[in-house]
């Protein structure tokens, strides 16, 4: 059931749906259309009525006996429970308790052995898994180191051609001695003509057009 307080403190409207009999309330009058309607009584044959009376009587008698039987049994059980606090019953209960503890310990030992075995297997599997992962990691690291070493070697080889302060003058002289022109022109056919001063090969062009 929803408490009254939670209903009052609600923030959103609630649609309550109750499962139950959907009837006209008892205090409403008879509908006008039904005011002179007399429901038809079921017709029960005399023979059937007598038979029903007989089996109902039998049933109720038997049920009374059954009910009384269970009631008396309950009373008996209650009285035996009350009288069960004697010394004898206490000893029996203690013995039963001892037996239960013994059985429980046996079970515990069995389960503990099983658990130990299972844990050993699990531990071995885990160790293997971790070792595998470590190996993979080591391999990856070695690969990276090798790659870096290769890069360093390449750079060292290249470093012989670097321009240093000592070789700077020489490099400048060489650059001045060998000027390079990066300009170029493109004609309509897409041919590159390098340099600014290169003459256009008119003859070739005329030959190609002719």
């Amino acid at each position: 059931m929803i408490s009254q307080n939670s209903l009052l403190k609600r923030t959103l409207p609630i649609v309550l749906q109750s499962a139950g009999a959907h009837r006209k309330p008892r205090w409403l009058p008879v509908a006008k259309s039904k005011i002179y309607r007399i429901p038809k009584r079921p017709e029960i044959i005399d023979e059937e009525r007598l038979e029903l009376l007989r089996i109902n009587n039998n049933y109720h008698t038997q049920m009374r006996a059954i009910r009384r039987f269970y009631h008396e049994e309950m009373i008996k059980e209650k009285s035996t429970l009350e009288s069960a606090s004697s010394e004898m019953s206490i000893r029996v209960e203690a013995d039963e308790w001892e037996r239960c503890i013994k059985v429980n310990e046996e079970w515990n030992a069995k389960v503990a052995a099983e658990r130990e075995e299972r844990r050993k297997v699990e531990l071995a599997a885990r160790e293997e898994h971790i070792l595998g992962r470590m190996q993979v990691k080591d391999q990856k690291l070695a690969e990276r180191i090798e790659k870096a070493a290769e890069e360093i070697r390449n750079q060292k080889e290249l470093s012989t051609t670097f321009i240093t302060p000592e070789t700077l003058e020489e490099a400048i002289d060489r650059a001045l001695a060998n000027p390079k022109d990066y300009n170029y022109a493109i004609d309509l056919q897409g041919n590159q003509i390098a340099g600014r001063e290169t003459p256009i090969p008119v003859k070739e062009k005329a030959a190609s057009t002719a």
Partner: protein
């Protein structure tokens, strides 16, 4: 409003009359009943004192209507003087815990009569078409 829980949350008054009855727990077009102990004056939507079994009135794939009963607790509550409603009495009668309920006998003979009547009519029809 959700339906009350299956068992054990209803308030218990020792001296109030108890009733062992069917409580509908299915949904639309799918009836399913719990056999529960409640106070006689409570509605079927209120929490019950204890659930004693279940009853599925729709036949399953093997054409069986399944009933589950906790007979030990049923005996306990009968010893306490709980009343049994007719539908539950019928179920218990068919299960052999109680004598057969008179209503079971009545439905049986009425069904038999209806069947006989239908057979007679069919025979008459057959004879009429033959002649």
């Amino acid at each position: 409003m959700p339906l009350p829980p299956a068992s054990g949350t209803g308030r218990y008054f020792a001296k109030a009359a108890k009733s062992i009855r069917l409580v509908r727990h299915g949904c639309t077009n799918r009836p399913f009943f719990h056999i529960s102990v409640t106070h006689r004056k409570r509605t079927t939507t209120q929490p019950v004192i204890e659930q004693l079994g279940s009853f599925d009135p729709m036949p399953n794939a093997f054409n069986e209507k399944l009933v589950a009963l906790n007979l030990e607790r049923l005996k306990y509550w009968l010893g306490k003087g709980a009343h049994v409603t007719p539908p539950v009495g019928e179920l218990l009668g068919l299960s052999g815990f109680f004598p057969i309920h008179p209503r079971s006998y009545m439905t049986a003979w009425r069904n038999r009569q209806a069947e006989e009547l239908a057979q007679q009519k069919e025979a008459e029809k057959a004879s009429a078409t033959a002649s």
